[in-house]
Symmetry: C2
Subunit: 675 residues, 2 copies
Amino acid sequence: MLKYLVAVICCIFSFAPLFAQQHQLMPVPKEVIWGEQRFQIDKGFHVVLNDTSASRAGKAVVRFLRRLDNRTQLLINKEFFRKPLNGVGPYLVIQYDRKGLLKPGEEESYSLQITGDQAILKAATDIGIVYGLETFLQLVASDNLGYYVNGVTINDQPRFVWRGLLIDVCRHFSPIDVITRNIDAMAMVKMNVLHLHLSEDQGFRIESKVFPKLHLLGSNGDYYTQEQIKYIIQYASDRGIRVVPEFDIPGHATSWFVGYPELAAAKGPYSIEKKFGVFGPSMDPTKKQTYKFLNKFLTEMCNLFPDEYFHIGGDENNGKQWDDNKNIQEYMRKHNIKNNHELQNYFNGKLLSILQKNKKKMIGWDEILQPGLPNDAVIQSWRGKEGLKEAATKGHQVILSNGYYIDLVQPAWKLYANDPAPSDLKLSDNEQKLILGGEATMWAELVTPENIDSRIWPRTAAIAERLWSPADVNAVNDMYRRLDIMNIRLEEIGVQHIINQEMMLRRIAQSNEITPLLNLVNVVEPLKDYKRHSQGIPYSTDLPFTRLPDIAFPDAKEARVFKMLCEQLVMKKDTTAKIEIEKQLLGWKNNHNELALISRNIPALKDWEKLSLLLQDVAAIGLESLQKMNNRTTVTDQWVTDSNKKLKEAALPVQESELMVVESVMMLFQYALPK
Amino acid sequence: MLKYLVAVICCIFSFAPLFAQQHQLMPVPKEVIWGEQRFQIDKGFHVVLNDTSASRAGKAVVRFLRRLDNRTQLLINKEFFRKPLNGVGPYLVIQYDRKGLLKPGEEESYSLQITGDQAILKAATDIGIVYGLETFLQLVASDNLGYYVNGVTINDQPRFVWRGLLIDVCRHFSPIDVITRNIDAMAMVKMNVLHLHLSEDQGFRIESKVFPKLHLLGSNGDYYTQEQIKYIIQYASDRGIRVVPEFDIPGHATSWFVGYPELAAAKGPYSIEKKFGVFGPSMDPTKKQTYKFLNKFLTEMCNLFPDEYFHIGGDENNGKQWDDNKNIQEYMRKHNIKNNHELQNYFNGKLLSILQKNKKKMIGWDEILQPGLPNDAVIQSWRGKEGLKEAATKGHQVILSNGYYIDLVQPAWKLYANDPAPSDLKLSDNEQKLILGGEATMWAELVTPENIDSRIWPRTAAIAERLWSPADVNAVNDMYRRLDIMNIRLEEIGVQHIINQEMMLRRIAQSNEITPLLNLVNVVEPLKDYKRHSQGIPYSTDLPFTRLPDIAFPDAKEARVFKMLCEQLVMKKDTTAKIEIEKQLLGWKNNHNELALISRNIPALKDWEKLSLLLQDVAAIGLESLQKMNNRTTVTDQWVTDSNKKLKEAALPVQESELMVVESVMMLFQYALPK
């Protein structure tokens, strides 16, 4: 091995497959140069930092040492030192110039130089230090000689300055521990914006001291106190993460009206919405009282949230209440406001001046982009790349969320392929600079604290890499390889994306015996996009979210691996895959009898039984296809007709879920047909 | 089947084995009379309650409906109604007389009458309703016809009025979500006192607005704000649970002195203690300033906690600082205080008057029972039954904790056998009445939020049954049968006693492939009593609690079941057990090769490898013993010597843990020897 491999600037990994096989970094750093020395981690390992344990860097080091020791169990020292300890053990020196500010564009770079003697982590700001420590933890490996980090020089900085996760805490509330563990997970993949969607038709989720009926009547008791919000902000700040609040108005605001019906454009009374969708209630943008209220309330919230950005929502206001309100119609005529878009624009102008008075920059969804919108309003683009382009060409900063809707349970490769600034968008350099980055959006119609983590993670790590790493880091298989590693590492900071699945299975089965259920659910995914809402189940906050589609993970790994095996056989004619395919198919075929023993006395498992039978059928067709491949003359018309029919049936949703191996078996089936 | 089985008052189950096999109730109610009708639960099931959803009963019903539907997925209505809905479905009528007060001796009884037509839950107080709803949820069963409850009449009330769980939040802090999920679990088994041990050498865990340096300097940032404490109190109150605070003084108080060294009997400075044990620092009981401080502080806390009881600790004050302090010695001479016990008694008297002024009853550990202690002080007995008896005979109310130290990881049967008022204590009726009940104590030297739940649950359910059910409910096997059911049901309210184990295994293995580790850990227990502290590991709050003894569950079920099989064979000469025993032994024997594949590159698994080899040896001896049983003439002296040696070696601790199947295999081994 060469002493140092030459660095390929921008993205070394796509050109260095040898190391691409080894490294466990996610997101991939901008520049990585591997050395050949081994930095051995032993009990004497210590950190050198000239700081207090109350600073951002100091706290990060304390967390770092704890996590490192939790994993390696070397019983290392949990304190840090001003100078390396002589002859005690390997050490990591940490140096930074200044405290980082929490705003987009702040210096986030860091460098990490690890040799056999020492490791040095340098950064302009302590935020870079936070990132560098995560990178170090990702580098830790082990073999029979102990724990170590491979010698390396890393120079890293993000591609985009805005790498966000939106959590909708309204449709279903996320208690504070859900928020903090997700902040930790964000920090692990170097995301830097937590966007809290705090008000909705289904709930008003933050304490207002100025207008307490907002949270007291608008929330069923599930809201963050201001003390808790301050705690979240500090917790995020410690990890270099900003917290951007969103109050979605004038639509999506039913919960405001429960306590303050006078804000609405139609008479009350209102009650908290339980169903999901777009609803009529909207603020009356023509009343002075509305702005008096919003001025007081938004000022309260502007003071609570230190971030310089403030999100006012603005999406999906259907205008029905405005159309039906005579006073509003009269007002529009009088002021020459031609339509609801213009009226909302007028409303937004008022909001903007409140925010500006509070020294905040306004963010809104696509819909706020109307003629006359001041240039310093930021657009969050959810409807498509066209909106992104339009915003940028009109001079607005813009954040991409379209394509990052993780609630729609698309696979990681699809999220990964979604670039906020793809070259085919044909933007000028200046326009390109207006694209701040992107935000994964965890809309919460169909999630609860039990399964929200498994909807966010690990897929959001793929988005995080898209937003951090160079654009040409895009090898899907390598992303998945590293995502599998991250999947397990995410657990070490408390994310419950894996552990709750078996708990949910035990709850249905009322037993420890869940292996057959697990075998089935491993190849099932919840229906994607908005299809779950059209399967006859009247989703509302009242429903139990403990059913098959709530338990099944998005992007089923077992189905993905099986598909790769089938492609290996069918496309690459690599018959070595056959044994694995056969083993897998046999397992699925034989699983049903075991599952039926459990399900027969559990009514909640009736649909599982149905799906399990379909899997049995599909597996049988797969096995038959494998046989017939060897001798295609055994294929009969009857078999083709029957199999086709069964495969089509198995491709249909059951309990808002789908079997993810049908397509692969279809591939085997067609391959078995005489040419 | 008879239409009604005759009830055996007091405890029907011990006399009705037929139903003892069926029922899933824990704690066992005072009186149960089974009917033969079936109360079928379908989508139309609804609750009838003349109340608001903001009341204790109303909130309990909302939680009840949610949990029922989460399990059955029938999509039942989440609201409740003033009258039964005509022809809609089965219903549960709830009636109570008044709001229950949170104090010992409050009426806690309820009755539940379930026929095929309707279910009626009645109680004097809403606290009884909370219990009755838990009982209903435990009764829910299912078969191929659906979900149902067997017709039944239950009249239930507790044997003891004080059924507590102490959580030490000092040695390791338990964030608020740990507390709330454990409150929910307590409610499931009808416990009614959460005792929070809030100050210790290792941490001061509550915000004081009067003396903020207590929590700011005494806690490393991990403490409850007063807002959080109010939240916990309300959360517990909703579930009929009292919150009793403990501030352990004059010893165990190092963390107080970090911010206020002037309180101590020796000069500072002090820093937060990281090690475990009994330490010297103690308050100076001779200074007026001490009482001025305590008066202010305790008054603040008395106002914060509404419960009428207040715990001042008082244990393990070793008196060293008092002995070494000239002023204290001088004071003692001057005031004719003969020894440290008398001095602490003097101190306690001062505390008592502060508490009395605040209308609180004082509780303290055994040590406060000194001549002159006023009768209304309550003794919490941790040192033994003698202390319990002494307190009662001296006229004090008393709570038993000795024998309920769940941190010492004794098996459930042992905790279960520990009666707070056994007949051999020979107390008069009046003395007997002074025994309020008991408290499980979760001392937190060796637990973190990751594994505290698995130290508390499910074993504490056995203690809960001891404290609730009639004294003659004591069949161990039936207790274990029901404990296994509770074990899974406890997960439905969020207890993480099961799920975190596999996460901890994945963290060590850095992989999904953990089956061989699980096979091993399933027959391992952490060392019991205080033995973990004498194995050479310098335990402190700095250590990682992610190791083998932190992962292994107390009371390993697989080892317990294996032991029963061996007893079946050896003691009852039931050879049908042989097949199962052999299968189990073979599994353990073959496990090592699989485990070694994982452990070879994971240094943290070195001890696991050692233990796995021992298990392999032990299993081999077991298998050989099975063979030789059939033909004892094949037993050679060499085999006996070698096996004996290996079994003895395997009985030794490895990494503060022990193999729990050695004793059982020893039984097989000795059975195989020629008589």
